[in-house]
């Protein structure tokens, strides 16, 4: 399940909803990862653009991988502006056993950072500044830049 929200996430509500949705499904381990905007470099917050069609496909690929281990993944992300100390990201793994969950949450979050089609901007003085230096090229980038 992939959920997108405008602005900061209501983390306690999302955690409660997900936990209750799965509480009788016999998952022994539940591991959420929550990302919260840090107050640093004088930013007022961050802002996000998302390209949903590719995000959905990327997420479905992970859901399929999880299913092979009898696990499931849930994820929510913010669109637009999110202020400092608000949260913009939550992902969670439910699995029968703990090792699968501990390994999946790490792999999932790292691949999310490297591959999910989401662009981050610093919010400073009402301006939206693309965070190029903190961004990661998607694997295979540069294809159209090759001189021939």
């Amino acid at each position: 399940m992939l959920e997108l929200y405008d602005g900061g996430l209501d983390i306690p509500s999302i955690l409660k909803k997900w936990y209750c949705q799965e509480s009788t499904q016999n998952y022994g381990a539940f591991i959420p990862f929550v990302g919260t905007i840090r107050d640093e470099d004088g930013i007022d917050g961050l802002s996000f653009d998302i390209y949903e069609p590719i995000l959905e496909k990327w997420f479905q690929g992970w859901q399929d991988k999880a299913k092979e281990k009898n696990a499931i993944i849930k994820m929510a992300h913010s669109r637009g502006d999110v202020l400092v100390h608000q949260s913009s990201y939550i992902a969670a793994i439910f699995s029968p056993k703990r090792r699968v969950a501990l390994e999946f949450i790490d792999l999932f979050v790292e691949d999310f950072k490297a591959s999910a089609p989401i662009w981050k901007y610093d919010l400073k003085n009402k301006k939206r500044i693309y965070a190029l230096e903190r961004s990661t090229r998607i694997k295979g980038s540069g294809l159209l830049g090759v001189s021939t």
Binding site: V109, L132, I138, L144, V146
Partner: protein, 73 residues
Amino acid sequence: MVKVEFLGPIQKESLNLKISNLQELATILQKTPEMTEWLANSAIAVNDTLVSSLDFALKDGDKVSMLPPVCGG
């Protein structure tokens, strides 16, 4: 016609081009100096699937997307 769209921070209007593969798109976009860095940085998707070869054939109605470096979370 093939629709070419520029995602996230790339400030560029979509294009509709008569091209039959990604090589032709590369040749066209490389003529625009302000695109140089984006071309070097960005991944390419055709109809929302990432592709890895310039030979990738395009047909009428296809959508090409350019994805610059990402940072979710």
